[in-house]
């Protein structure tokens, strides 16, 4: 290793990682060991200690990963992907069911969520596939389809585990990875347009129509291909119609309730709207400076649902207010920005794709989690990276980050052989 290795290492990322972790630990402590603990069973009160253990383990793993060669990620990518797929499939049969989802594999005394390993495995495998051979870029329709299939495999298996939230996390990898490997801007935009149109249609069908028109114009201007513009327009309008049809006709009543609760929580404040109202109330009532550590009444009086996992941001915002909440958000933004900047500086496409894949996964988590907590997307239960309680999630996120650090730290070894 280089004598001046410490100058090469990205200490800033470690610092940001530590501060986000600190926010998480503070939130978990407040949510499980504050005055609220009197209403919580003993095993929940142990969550903080368990999380500390996982953080410690993660530090060891991060350090360990820095000693591996970046090339080994590329070499072992398919193997890791295959093993991860095997584990995920076996979870389907031998897994432990928690909260209705069969997504945990029990090994000895430790439970592990196999979909977590699947994330980094998928990113590595797809990045490797898209960059391993010459002219295999996504402009080539066949390779684009294969890459998409590689991403959809885990999505389907995890869906079968009945863990929709985790499965959804993989979807954004498709447009982002393909976009990075050369997919034209217009087509990439066309690929993500259903998400934007669908989201706006849920709020109001008129927004959906407006989004369709705007996106169609932009796509047309980018690609200058009339058939793509026309497809975009027809497809977008069909989506608006089908979303509205699905909302009223196809979805089960409890799913309709959840959507309705997102659009207008005060329709049923004691029922479907309860979680959203209580979460928003926790954040809002924190005010600018917060109610103080372990002083948040929404948290301590148990009004918050899932307050040490999915709604942990509410705990932080309630205790530390706008100041603490925005610091946490900015730390997360900084973490992602730093990785992307690192990716720009690296010359190896494989490393760049892996980093962007990791960033995409982390970003999707943050988007869905913060969006749910602040009532801007329908409630979908996914953890906030490095903040929510959950060992396997924390460890797998740390591994993903460690791989990014490694690819940046030892980028010369990659480019040497590239």
């Amino acid at each position: 290793m280089n004598k001046t290795w410490y100058k090469e290492f990205d200490w800033l990322t470690i610092l940001i990682w530590m501060s986000i972790t600190a926010f998480g630990l503070a939130g978990i402590y407040s949510a499980t060991l504050g005055p609220v603990s009197q209403f919580l069973p003993a095993h929940i009160q142990d969550n903080f200690a368990r999380q500390l253990t996982w953080v410690t383990l993660s530090v060891i793993v991060i350090v360990f990963i820095q000693f591996t060669s970046p090339r080994s990620f590329q070499q072992l990518a398919y193997l890791i992907y295959a093993i991860a797929l095997l584990l995920t499939v076996s979870t389907l049969f031998f897994g432990v069911e928690v909260n209705g989802a069969r997504s945990w594999l029990q090994l000895g005394g430790v439970r592990f969520q196999t979909s977590e390993i699947m994330k980094i495995a998928t990113v590595l495998a797809v990045a490797n596939y898209l960059t391993s051979r010459r002219n295999i870029e996504a402009v080539n329709l066949k390779s684009a389809i294969i890459a998409t299939f590689m991403i959809l495999m885990p999505v389907i298996i995890i869906m079968l585990q009945n863990d929709t939230g985790s499965a959804l996390i993989f979807i954004p990898l498709i447009p982002v990875m393909l976009f990075l490997s050369g997919l034209p801007y217009g087509i990439a935009l066309f690929m993500i347009s259903p998400a934007i149109i669908g989201y706006l249609s849920i709020i109001d069908w008129q927004y959906g129509v407006i989004a369709t028109l705007v996106l169609t114009v932009v796509i047309y201007l980018l690609q200058k291909r009339p058939w793509l513009g026309l497809t975009s327009l027809v497809f977008g309008l069909l989506l608006v119609v089908s979303v509205n049809f699905a909302l009223t006709e196809i979805l089960q009543p409890h799913q309709q309730n959840r959507i309705e609760a997102f659009v207008n929580p005060f329709q049923d404040p004691q029922g479907a709207g309860w979680n959203i109202i209580q979460a928003k109330t926790a954040i809002s009532s924190g005010g600018i400076y917060g109610k103080g550590f372990m002083q948040g009444t929404q948290t301590q009086l148990r009004f918050l649902p899932e307050q040490w996992t999915d709604f942990i941001f509410c705990v932080i915002a309630e205790d530390f207010g706008l100041v603490g909440g925005s610091l946490a958000i900015m730390a997360m933004l900084l973490l992602l920005m730093r990785q992307l900047s690192n990716a720009v500086s690296i010359k190896t496409p494989f490393a760049q794709l892996v980093i962007v894949g990791v960033v995409t996964i982390l970003f999707t988590h943050i988007l869905v989690n913060l969006g749910s907590a602040m009532g801007v997307v329908p409630v979908i239960g996914v953890p906030l990276p490095f903040v929510s309680y959950g060992g396997s999630s924390f460890l797998s996120n740390s591994i993903m980050l460690a791989v990014c650090l490694n690819l940046h730290f030892r980028q010369r070894e990659m480019s040497l052989f590239a």
Binding site: P35, A317, I329
Partner: protein, 610 residues
């Protein structure tokens, strides 16, 4: 892969992704600012409402004392165990059963009932548990999630006085009361009958408010702001009633086993000294946990225990009506004290109206003493032919008959004192004649009165012609220390002249010393005046009446007693009334053998008077 164009495009793509991510984060920051700054006023109140619960604190209900300061009604804490079924762990049933010292089956049954009511709201699992059971539950409450305990209050009656129809009882407020007022909460109790009902607003007091910090499960976790915002409840006002507890008790004992009612009042101010309706019920058993069988008996038995005969039974007053007739005759000039009428054993006017005996020449005093029907048939004939029925009605109505006198407990009845309109209604327009009126002169026919009205008219004769407002509460003692005294109405009845009262009183005095009252009502200890009466009852044995007041010179008590189906007033009602006078004037019963005899009184079919 490595050619410059491709890597430039990759860098651009990375920048685009950076920009998109940054934009989303800016949106999140904006949303955070929106929530914490601009919507703070919307959501912070929700947060406060969430964590603070307004609990109402029930005030303790006012106590009731008798005229001598004897405590009649007070409160006692009762201990209740509540369960919220959804929070209750069924595996705790054996523990709960052992703490409650009951069987597991009992617990399961009670739990089932609670579940039927609601899974999520607390229901009473057991009420009125023993204090030591209650404290055992309290010590172990942490082992029993879903179980809560509460101290409530019920009425107790320490004075060994039932006074069921006077005091009344409490019941949970009806749905209608609950909705139309904003005073009560569901499950609150309010006075349903008697004084408890009339004086509900005084007795109830004002509910207090306690702010408590609670969690999402509604579990209280302490006071809010050290209780500075709490509002202490205001204790209900204590009532001082006009009843004499000893007299009331004696009266109740005398009426056991009989059907009827009695009213004893102070003729000077209308204070009710005793008021009994029989059969009655045990208000202590109507307090707190009520045995449903007993409730069914009280509310729907054919003997109608709830019916307050003392103020609501309407019976012909019979001969007790004669003193009133005498006053009326003197005032209207139809007779003078010296006017005599020859009694030949009856009065013939179209038909024969029977008298009880051949009395010979009778003046008013003698006619009252002997209860001579002939005299009053004769007089009523003259009333009908001169002043007319409507004038008769107007004058007697002023004495309180045929109308509500406004006693301060519910369900008072007016009785019947007919005028021509009413006669038209009863018999048909112009379908009635003299024959239907002559009977009225001896308190028979279509005239009826309540014991309260007869006691009141007796009081008017005793007190020199004043209508006095009959009432049961003489003072309201507020918790603040202030006292509000009852200000009962007292009104001179203009047409009653002092000189007219003399022969009537003398007749009533002689009715006791020489007439039909001489057997049981002629007290050695107190000079008493009175009049017996027997109301004809087409449905069975006649009803016995007795009205009396004493002492003769300085009246302190006026009594009216009716024993339904008791036969003659002289043997049924008169002993009861005279024993009450004896008790009230001497403070004790002197003729204990008569008292014992009356406890076991059985009406006889003898024929001494009519």
């Amino acid at each position: 892969m490595t050619h410059p164009e491709s890597s430039r495009r990759l860098r651009t793509s990375l920048r685009i992704i950076q920009v998109i991510i940054a934009l989303v984060f800016v949106l999140f920051l904006g949303r955070l600012v929106q929530l914490t700054v601009f919507e703070y006023d919307t959501y912070n109140p929700i947060s406060e409402r969430n964590s603070i619960r307004r609990e109402t604190v029930n005030p303790s209900r006012g106590l009731i004392y008798d005229r001598n300061g004897v405590l009649l009604v007070e409160n006692t804490p009762i201990f209740s165990i509540y369960v919220t079924p959804t929070d209750f762990d069924r595996s705790n049933i054996p523990l709960l059963a052992s703490l409650m010292e009951t069987s597991e089956e009992n617990i399961q049954d009670a739990l089932q009932q609670a579940q039927n009511f609601s899974w999520h709201r607390p229901s009473r699992l057991f009420s009125e548990v023993e204090f030591d059971v209650f404290s055992r539950i309290e010590e172990n409450i942490w082992r029993l999630p879903g179980i809560t305990h509460q101290i409530e209050s019920k009425r107790v009656y320490p004075a060994n006085v039932k006074a069921a129809h006077v005091l009344g009882y409490l019941r949970e407020v009806s749905d209608a009361d609950f909705r139309t007022t904003n005073i009560y909460r569901l499950g609150d109790k309010a006075g349903r009958t008697g004084i408890e009902r009339t004086y509900e607003s005084y007795l109830r007091g004002e509910t207090g408010v306690q702010l408590r910090r609670v969690n999402a499960f509604g579990q209280g976790i302490g006071n809010y702001s050290e209780g500075i915002l709490d509002l202490a409840p205001v204790k209900g006002a204590n009532l001082e009633v006009t009843l004499d507890a000893d007299l009331q008790r004696i009266a109740e004992q005398l009426m056991v086993g009989k059907t009827g009612g009695l009213v004893a009042l102070d003729p000077n101010n209308g204070e009710i000294l005793a008021l009994v309706s029989s059969p009655d019920f045990d208000i202590a058993r109507m307090s707190g946990r009520v045995d449903p069988e007993y409730l069914a008996y009280v509310t729907s038995d054919s003997t109608r225990p709830m019916f307050n005969r003392a103020i609501a039974t309407r019976q012909p007053p019979g001969s007790t009506f004669k003193p009133i007739m005498g006053l009326l005759g003197l005032r209207t000039g139809l007779i003078t004290p010296e006017t005599t009428i020859f009694c030949n054993g009856g009065y013939v006017r179209g038909r024969l109206y029977r008298c009880t005996a051949i009395h010979g020449n009778q003046d008013l005093e003698e006619a009252i003493m002997n209860s001579c029907n002939t005299y009053f048939f004769h007089m009523m004939n003259r009333v009908a032919n001169t002043i007319g029925l409507n004038e008769w009605h107007r004058l007697i109505r002023e004495m309180g008959l045929g109308r509500i006198n406004g006693i301060d407990i519910p369900s008072e009845q007016a009785g019947i004192l007919p005028d021509s309109t009413q006669m038209d209604r009863i018999f048909g327009v112009r379908q009635w004649g003299l024959g239907d009126q002559i009977n009225l002169g001896v308190g028979q026919g279509v005239v009826s009165a309540t014991p309260l009205q007869m006691a009141l008219s007796t009081a008017e004769i005793a007190n020199g012609g004043y209508w006095v407002q009959p009432h049961l509460v003489r003072a309201i003692h507020y918790d603040s220390g202030e006292t509000e005294f009852a200000n009962p109405g007292r009104q001179r009845i203009e047409w009653i002249r002092d000189e007219d009262l003399e022969p009537v009183r003398a007749g009533m005095r002689r009715a006791v010393t020489e007439g039909s009252g001489r057997f049981y009502a002629n007290l050695a200890s107190v000079p008493t005046a009175g009049k017996t009466g027997t109301a004809q009852n087409p449905h069975g044995r006649d009803h016995g009446w007795f009205i009396a007041y004493a002492p003769y010179d300085n009246p302190q008590i006026a009594v009216a007693v009716i024993i339904e189906n008791g036969g003659f007033g002289s043997v049924s009602a008169a002993p009861v009334a005279s024993l009450l006078i004896e008790q009230y004037m001497n403070g004790e019963i002197l003729r204990s053998n008569l008292f014992d005899m009356m406890l076991n009184f059985v009406p006889r079919d003898s024929d001494i008077e009519r």
